[in-house]
């Protein structure tokens, strides 16, 4: 039995605020696939010399900040291992995805501007989430105009999802003897990372080169897990149906760990697995890459 908490069943504004803060970080959006190439990137000459250390500002993302700080701590460890100086801007909050994906662009614009002002001093911005990185690279330019649009594009060119940065920019490598065994893993491609940022090979490559992982691909790994930000709370039955399908495919792969790059999707999957009594460890890719199996998997008890 899980800890059960039953107060008044009525949902007030505060309830919804809380629900929103907690649930609404969408793992989604999208741009057309062929536009991936048009995403601005730094030219060779702009990139720091090999001898320089990468100056990285970490965007923790609000879900990791609130629910799973180990993702951020492991991200810092990985970035430092890759030769980066990591700064965590302390005034960061949320990138504005919840409001944006529910159509409240007006409420999103000030958050986008705040984010840009907070992070634009960085050489690189790295986020352990495809949907948050995609929000910055793809959607800020879409909702900002004039000078702010230009600043958004400029920041977009320096913003990366964690596995993308580690493999494509920092080129993190690890000697064989330092690679820890993370068991059998199946990787769920979160939608925004996959379709906005083209993240598919990077996490698998890193699992194979930084750890000893037995990668087992599940069927139709490109299908949404049903999280979708506020979707999972607005249409819970449809969302749960999708999560169950995903878990069924993950189980059929034979892997004991289900990994992914977006905590929203992972909380949805771990929560559904618990509800259905499905035995599978759900973890963020940063934890596996850092070899941190000591931290209980998502949704597991933290008291032995």
């Amino acid at each position: 039995m899980y800890w059960s908490f039953d107060l008044t069943p009525t949902q007030g504004v505060v309830d919804h605020l809380a629900a929103t803060v907690i649930l609404a970080l969408s793992a989604t959006p999208l741009r057309l696939v062929q536009q991936k190439d048009s995403q601005p990137r730094m030219s060779e000459s702009q990139q720091p010399q090999a001898s320089q250390r990468f100056q990285v500002h970490l965007f923790v993302t609000c879900l990791a900040d609130l629910f799973r700080p180990s993702i951020a701590f492991n991200s810092i460890a990985l970035l430092e291992e890759a030769g980066c100086d990591v700064t965590v801007p302390m005034s960061q909050t949320c990138c504005g995805q919840p409001g944006y994906n529910t159509g409240d662009y007006e409420a999103t614009v000030p958050l986008a501007k705040q984010f840009i002002a907070t992070f634009e001093g960085a050489d690189y911005v790295v986020a352990p989430s495809g949907s948050c990185a995609g929000m910055i690279t793809h959607h800020y330019p879409r909702i900002l105009e004039g000078q702010w649009h230009e600043r958004a594009l400029d920041l977009a060119a320096r913003t990366f999802e964690l596995t993308q940065f580690l493999s494509e920019v920092a080129g993190l490598k690890r000697p064989i003897e330092q690679r820890s065994d993370v068991g059998s893993v199946t990787y769920h491609d979160s939608c925004a990372g996959l379709r906005e940022l083209g993240i598919q090979t990077q996490p698998r490559h890193l699992l194979n080169t930084l750890c000893r992982a037995d990668l087992k691909e599940m069927e139709r790994t490109d299908v949404c897990c049903g999280f979708g930000g506020t979707f999972c709370a607005k249409m819970p039955e449809l969302s749960a149906n999708m999560a169950s399908d995903k878990l069924e495919m993950a189980q059929a792969s034979g892997a004991t760990t289900l990994a992914g790059g977006d905590l929203g999707c992972l909380m949805n999957l771990a929560g559904r697995a618990k509800r259905e009594g499905i035995e599978i460890e759900v973890r963020h890719i940063a934890e596996l890459l850092a070899g941190d199996l000591a931290t209980p998997a998502i949704g597991e008890s933290s008291q032995s």
Binding site: V21, P29, N101, G103, C224, I298
Partner: protein, 472 residues
């Protein structure tokens, strides 16, 4: 139509409980994408073709004031009559008046989403005409008195046994087995053949109108479109103005995209171009042919930020690839257009008031846009419709207010960190032993279907700040 689009959530919950139909949709969701993928890979530069056709169609839409009159003139020169209908009611009246002028009693219809949109059949039947749908799927749902659940496969929701019962009930052919689908298809074919031969008017749709020669294009897999178009004396093509393409070769390019996206076929079984009435040396064909071109708000869409939606070629790929459609089924959308394309089109063709739930029936996963042969940025359009919904305050007030509040708190980092810290530490203390919550009063939408994983001991920001202080 009795189901309202704003009942989507309740209807989808019902659909999820219909186990057999859900299983069928899940099979569809597996096999149709696989067929499409194979066809696209075999083709080679599908991306290049997609971009080419999208550019051509954009050009045609941007210059509709040139190509539409060109099509009209060419079609008239070929002996057709061309009519324009601003609304669905106007299209229905125009078609009825043509039928009545010829004292028609029976109409054989090919598959046409435009006439589904205008509910033409009801209009003609109310005037005493007999209308027979001849596409097998459309025929099945017409016999059953149901609405289409998929724009390409309108009867996909009907299990085999239901169709057998339906045919045994509706066809007065005495006791028989109808043991398998081929037997049922054979029976429908022979029943329909009589209708083709006795119909006074044929009505079909069009996949494209070709400006340079005034022809229309129709693809079918059953050949029923050609029988509707060639056997009755009168042919009426009902379609919409955004189907216009400049050249015949553009229509050929469109077919390459369309059939691969729809069924994974390299070409449909029947791909027909209609020029006009029977000429002197022709051995068959209609004596009189009409085009009825419907607007029904498409001019407004063309002038709006949603004009990309006019590139939709009704292939159904977005439905087949949409996990929400697969779960909810087509009828939940309360519209003749379902899935991602339907969730964009329905609010635009009716009103956002009547269908503002539909744009939220989407995780913005983007699989639809990835496979859309017309390159329509469906998730962006759906999100923009949510923006319209938000601005016109149509949806839930609680969500709207909580978004505003969330945005406001997020703009005050100290307050944000104070509140999140308090909340997280409380949740951690309550949930750490079990690892999660099976019920949380403020997240009932979440915990209705899944446990809520408990947070680790404190927010990252608090832990990091403490750690930094210790280091100093």
């Amino acid at each position: 139509m009795t189901i309202s689009s704003n009942d989507f959530i309740a209807q989808s919950v019902v659909a999820l409980q219909e186990a057999e139909r859900l299983r069928t949709r899940k099979e569809l969701g597996k096999h149709m994408p696989a067929l499409r993928t194979r066809a696209v890979e075999e083709f080679g530069d599908f991306e290049g073709l997609r971009e080419h056709v999208a550019n051509v169609r954009q050009h045609a839409l941007d210059n509709l004031d040139y190509y539409l009159p060109q099509f009209e003139q060419q079609a008239i020169d070929n002996g057709n009559q061309v009519h324009y209908a601003r609304t669905g009611a106007e299209l229905n009246d125009l078609v009825l008046s043509i039928c009545q002028r010829h004292n028609a009693r029976k109409i054989a219809k090919g598959k046409s989403m435009v006439t589904e949109e205008t509910e033409l059949n009801h209009h003609l039947e109310r005037a005493g005409l007999e209308v027979v749908e001849t596409d097998l799927g459309e025929y099945i749902i017409q016999q059953a008195g149901e609405t289409p659940s998929h724009i390409v496969g309108p009867a996909l929701h009907k299990p085999e046994a239901e169709i057998r019962e339906l045919f045994l009930d509706k066809h007065p052919l005495g006791p028989r087995e109808l043991e398998d689908p081929p037997a049922m298809v054979e029976e429908a074919r022979s029943v329909l053949r009589e209708h083709f031969l006795s119909a006074d008017v044929g009505i079909v749709g069009a996949n494209a109108l070709i400006a340079e020669n005034g022809y229309s294009l129709l693809v079918t897999n059953e050949g029923n479109g050609d029988l509707c178009a060639n056997l009755p004396n009168i042919l009426i093509v009902c379609t919409t103005m955004e189907r216009v393409l400049p050249r015949a070769r553009d229509a050929a390019a469109l077919v390459r995209l369309l059939t691969r996206s729809t069924t994974g076929q390299s070409i449909s079984c029947y791909t027909s171009y209609y020029s006009g009435p029977r000429r002197q040396d022709d051995i068959d064909g209609p004596l009189e042919t009409h085009y009825v071109l419907l607007d029904n708000k498409r001019s407004d869409i063309l002038a709006s930020d949603y004009k990309d939606m006019l590139q939709c070629m009704r292939c159904g790929a977005c439905l087949n690839h949409c996990p929400v459609y697969i779960g909810a089924g087509g009828h939940a959308y309360g519209s003749v257009y379902q899935g991602p394309m339907g969730s964009v089109l329905t609010p635009l063709l009716s009103s956002l008031e009547e269908s503002h739930t539909l744009p939220s029936a989407c995780t913005t996963c983007g699989r639809c846009a990835e496979v859309c042969p017309a390159n329509i940025p469906l998730p962006d359009l759906l999100r923009d419709l949510r923006h319209d919904e938000s601005r016109s305050k149509l949806g839930s007030g609680r969500w709207r207010v909580s978004m505003k509040l969330h945005a406001w708190v997020s703009q005050h980092p100290r307050l944000y960190q104070l509140l999140t810290g308090l909340g997280v530490r409380t949740l951690h203390r309550m949930g750490r032993r079990r690892g999660g919550f099976s019920r949380l009063p403020f997240a009932s939408g979440w915990t209705q279907e899944r446990d809520f994983p408990a947070p680790q001991k404190d927010t990252f920001m608090h832990q990091y700040r403490k750690q930094a202080a210790q280091d100093e």
